[in-house]
């Protein structure tokens, strides 16, 4: 038993399409320990899927090395494949197949006996709420139902290391919560090491012990969500005023913290927001400035991304 589940050094992938070279992943150095739950965060095209594909033996690296579950992803592919689970960005079930059949054959592919594969398939069908559609042809399923089937296939053999590429894309809020519950349970009950990519910042925040931010194929931050927020973005204090005049007078009493102005609101960023608000309000009171609304927000991972790259992940998602 190794305690390091993933170790990469200078992992790099270049694609050449029509003489143009895309550096999808550039010199990634990663280390993930057994039992960790890690989220890869980054905008579209950042290199998340390419990284997962190299780690799952689907793509040979251009240069650099990677070891997964103790085995090299290039020279010991079979050993790696036997130890991992992978839920890709696409749909894993064949469209002319029935869901239950695919689940059972997936279980068989990972060495379960027919009886065990059947039993596991039934468990997952029940817990992922697929009972009504499991015996239908996959092409007749809705996008969210297909996604749940993908997740069931990835979980069927209870792997020690599970990769999920945007597992919750296309799921409604209820099913997203259900998926998160599954992931948390796998992690808690079996000590499964989990690496997932996501565009949902709240999901990364809620699930991951560790967030790795990737941009343009490079690792730009790697820490717990709390530390990332503490280090890269303070609390956000939003003050709203009734008039231009009040706002202008308030600007003189922000305790030296720079305030960004939009319309009739001032936004301040600082650590220890709650405490600071009390101080600010006392100052405004003394100066006779009336504040119509105050809001203190804990920083989000988006604030972290914004602080690190000058761009917001949210905007990219909506584009």
């Amino acid at each position: 038993m190794t305690d390091t589940m993933i170790r990469t050094s200078a992992l790099t992938k270049r694609f050449t399409v029509k003489k143009e070279t895309v550096e999808a992943v550039r010199g990634l150095d990663l280390r993930v320990m057994r039992g960790e739950m890690v989220a890869l965060l980054g905008p579209n095209g950042a290199g998340k899927s390419t990284t997962l594909r190299m780690l799952t033996t689907l793509l040979p690296p251009t240069s650099g090395e990677a070891e997964v579950a103790g085995f090299d992803v290039v020279t010991r592919q079979r050993e790696v494949r036997a130890r991992i689970g992978y839920i890709g960005q696409g749909n894993g079930a064949g469209h002319s197949q029935r869901g239950r059949d695919e689940l059972i054959s997936q279980g068989r592919a990972y060495g379960l006996s027919v009886a065990d594969a059947r039993r596991r398939a039934q468990e997952l069908i029940d817990s992922l709420d697929l009972g009504a559609v499991a015996d239908r042809v996959v092409s007749s399923l809705s996008g969210g139902q297909r996604r749940r089937l993908d997740i069931a296939m990835g979980l069927i053999h209870a792997p020690e290391l599970l990769f999920l590429d945007e597992p919750s894309t296309g799921l409604d809020p209820q099913n997203r919560a259900n998926l998160q519950e599954h992931v948390v349970r796998m992690h808690a009950e079996h000590g499964t090491t989990i690496v997932l990519t996501t565009h949902y910042l709240d999901e990364a925040d809620a699930l991951a012990d560790r967030v790795i931010v990737i941009d343009h194929g490079k690792l730009i931050a790697d820490d717990t969500p709390e530390r990332l927020k503490a280090d890269h973005a303070g609390d956000r204090i939003t003050l709203t005023f009734d008039s231009e005049d009040e706002l202008r007078r308030a600007e003189g009493h922000t305790l030296g913290i720079t305030a960004a102005r939009t319309g009739l609101t001032l936004t301040l960023r600082a650590d220890g927001g709650r405490h600071l608000v009390q101080k600010l309000m006392r100052g405004f009171d003394e100066a006779g400035v009336h504040v119509s609304a105050v809001e203190v927000a804990r920083p989000t991972l988006d604030d972290v991304f914004l602080a690190l790259t000058g761009r917001s992940l949210r905007e990219e998602n909506q584009a």
Binding site: R78, G90, N91, H95, S96
Partner: protein, 242 residues
């Protein structure tokens, strides 16, 4: 290897078993040829000559286009899922190619059954004929899958190549019209086509001649295509990336 191949084989076969009528729908093409072409045949040769060729044709079109299924799975992501599984890469191609035997046999038996009321009389040697056909369709299936793997992200290449190759192979093997009377260059091209040997062998087998040179050549052609197809396919699958 056998374990893995069985898993892939049964996965491929399952949709057919769940919905057996789908197999019948895929054989409209040979049926059209039978209905529209056989009335034009000369009295004395007739169905005895034509039906064995139709059986090879249904194998050529059926197994030859099966790569389209893989191509679709490459787009949706289920091929990627299988590539990450611990199944041996060779099993991914062998299991798929072996499955081609089932629809090919069903088609052949149906073609025979349909033509018997119209006067077709297969000899017992036909059993050996079906065996040769099974070997050939495994080879053609494997080649079709190889073409699909080579057409990754360029689906049109698969269909363009498959269509462009199928018809010359069909005509040059003398499935619809005899080649013997044709010009020398046509006969030469026909000799390069492995399907020609299979068609000749099938005609002799269905008419009761079993231990002939042509049957031997047909067997050789079928085994050759199967070996080539499985070799190319396994190589391709080993190097397949997502």
């Amino acid at each position: 290897m056998i374990h893995d191949t069985t898993i892939v084989f049964s996965r491929e076969l399952r949709p057919v078993l769940r919905d057996p009528f789908s197999v019948i729908f895929t054989m409209v093409q040979p049926l059209f040829f039978l209905v529209l072409f056989s009335p034009l045949l000369p009295e004395e040769t007739g169905l005895q000559w034509f039906v064995p060729g139709m059986i090879v044709m249904s194998c050529l079109f059926g197994a030859g286009s099966t790569g389209g299924n893989l191509l679709f799975e490459m787009q949706t992501g289920s091929h990627e899922r299988m590539l990450v599984s611990p199944l041996r890469r060779s099993a991914l191609i062998v299991g798929r190619a072996l499955k081609e035997i089932v629809p090919t046999m069903v088609h052949s038996v149906l073609i025979i059954a349909i033509t018997i009321p119209f006067g077709f009389r297969p000899h017992a040697g036909a059993v050996f004929g079906l065996l040769l056909l099974a070997i050939m369709c495994v080879g053609l299936g494997a080649l079709s899958y190889s073409l699909a793997l080579a057409s990754k992200n360029k689906e049109w290449i698969f269909w363009a190549v498959q269509q462009t190759i199928s018809f010359p192979l069909l005509l040059l093997a003398g499935m619809l019209l005899p080649i013997e009377g044709g010009p020398a260059w046509l006969q030469f091209l026909s000799k390069l086509n492995p399907l020609s040997y299979l068609v000749n062998a099938e005609r002799e087998l269905f008419n009761g001649e079993v231990f002939t040179a042509n049957v031997g050549l047909g067997l050789l052609a079928a085994v050759g295509v199967a070996a080539l197809g499985l070799w190319v396919g396994t190589r391709q699958m080993r190097h397949a990336v997502a």
